[in-house]
């Protein structure tokens, strides 16, 4: 079996006496669609912050394609193909959608170092950015300022920025957060349609979406990985039900979430 796309060994982090990540061991095989679930405060976003280098772990190691990346700064992890999106939109308000994605493409191709030639000299970068936007159905809005885009479009732009870096492993932090239910179905359809070369880990609270789009699920509680496995195992595990899924038997009612 080939090396996992992403793996962590004994990853731990605490803020003072508060342990937010405790001995986390996960392994994502290539091309798999993973869901990361758990109650609020379970440490899901913290785990993404640790993996992407936005937080420094107290202990443990992170491997991307078998290479130890624990010591690398965030932007170099991105260059190696480990990319994330944010739960709360983190975009460029006064750049247009096309400018934002072109910026990300230019950073990847290193055109962004060039200050003596105008952007017109880089048609391939511009076209690639446009193609990404069209694929995410943002083509018609590509010349609008980011802050003028509808909220759902901004969520898509988050993903577009990530795709522009050509990720190998994509970590999506609640990609559908704050998006109406009908639109979140579309959004996940777009995620499901991503190239099978990309390994995806997404945090999501809507269990229907989780069971529909994830081939494997990781359950976190209190900074620990409670269990991981295929959806049917998770759904029927009594321990998972008691701590997270609550009393509902198979289909879990959707809770509206804000922010």
């Amino acid at each position: 079996m080939s090396a996992p796309a992403l793996a962590t060994r004994g990853l731990a982090k605490s803020f003072g006496s508060l342990v937010v990540a405790n001995d986390i061991e996960i392994e994502l095989p290539k091309g798999v669609r993973y869901a990361l679930i758990g109650p609020n405060g379970a440490g899901k976003t913290t785990l993404i912050n640790l993996i992407t280098g936005m937080l420094q772990p107290g202990a443990g190691r992170i491997f991307l394609d078998d290479a130890d990346i624990t010591a690398l700064p965030p932007e170099q992890r991105v260059r190696r193909g480990l990319v994330r999106t944010f739960q709360i939109n983190s975009l460029f308000p006064h750049l247009t959608a096309l400018e934002s994605v072109t910026l990300a493409v230019c950073e990847r191709t290193r055109a962004a170092r060039i200050w003596w030639r105008q952007l017109n000299a880089y048609p391939h970068e511009i076209d690639e950015a446009h193609d990404i936007l069209v694929a995410l159905k943002l083509g018609a809005a590509c010349h609008r300022l980011t802050r003028e885009l509808a909220y759902g479009q901004q969520r898509l732009l988050e993903i577009a920025l990530a795709l522009a870096t050509r990720p190998k492993v994509l970590l999506l932090d609640e990609p559908a957060a704050g998006v109406p239910r009908e639109e979140s179905q579309e959004l996940f359809a777009a995620i499901a349609g991503l190239s099978s070369d990309i390994t995806v880990l997404f945090i999501e609270h809507d269990m229907e979406l989780v069971f529909r789009f994830a081939s494997r699920i990781i359950v976190m509680v209190g900074g620990r990985v409670l269990m991981q496995g295929p959806p049917h195992e998770i759904a029927n595990d009594p321990q998972v039900r008691s701590v997270y899924l609550g009393k509902a038997p198979t289909i879990i009612p959707h809770e509206p979430r804000y922010g």
């Binding site: 006064h94 910026l103 990300a104 950073e107 962004a112 952007l119 017109n120 048609p123 076209d127």
Partner: protein
Amino acid sequence: MALSETAISPRLYLAEQTRWRPAEILFWLATLTPYFLFPTYLSLASQIAITALFALSLDLILGYAGIVSLGHAAFFGIGAYTAGLLSKYGWGEPLSGLVVAAFAAGVVGYVTSFVICRFRHLALIMLTLGFGLLLAELANTLGWVTGGMDGLQGIHTWKLLGTFPFDLYGRAAYAYALAVLFILFLFARRLIHSPFGLSLRGIRENFVRMPAIGAPSRAHIRTIYTIAACIAGVAGALLAQTTETVSLDSLGFERSAEVLVMLVLGGAGRLYGGIVGATIYMVARDQFSGVVPQYWYFWIGILLVAVVVFLPNGILGGLTQLAARWSRK
């Protein structure tokens, strides 16, 4: 707008951004009017062009990369003293003087940029202020080099291109300063429309997001800080060469603060903001201080408060808004 949005191809749209607008061409033609309309004010005009260039260099770091500096005069002063000393000790050729001054300021800019790129916001203001004060005090202490309080004397600038002497009326000086301003403006305009310029805007818009798209923000900041230092150095050298003197206030705190005020007045992040701000500020100072010198800061204070309250994007920002509203009608 809504209809044409989908019709414009992405490449054309971005090419459109770099096209010269009629207002820009008019603006540059207007810079020639002092020769015909105010021939007695040519030396003021050349000082304005020099200050405008200085403000342009600040705009590159403040308006485009969001780096607030209260010590930018350091590079202006380094440029001025470099060109001045070069001339004092026997080499008064102006153009090569500019190059050497740009290089000296650039080296100091590059070295300090390694500290600058690690900080944002308030820390950055204090850091740049600290560097500025440090350098000003150093220049004061090294009186045997800089001339100290008396200023650097004995500068003689050779004829421009070996033919045009710098006269008392400032005819050559204004042409020289304006030409250098225009050339470096073209350079800056090209830079902000480059892929690198786009990255700078990204840094200004959302510094925290940049690493998540794989951007080496610190390296970008080091580059632009060095470039801005070079341009500020050229501005300082121009002042030294055209006035044939350099005083300590060329790198003092007051000059750093003034250029920041000019840029905010004119509107940061739009290239012309610094030029417009410098013009208004310096013409106003010339006019007001002629009437009641001690009240000069009173008027500039009112102007600053009014602009910040009513035109948060500066005078140019207000004009752009006005023009947009007008064309929509």
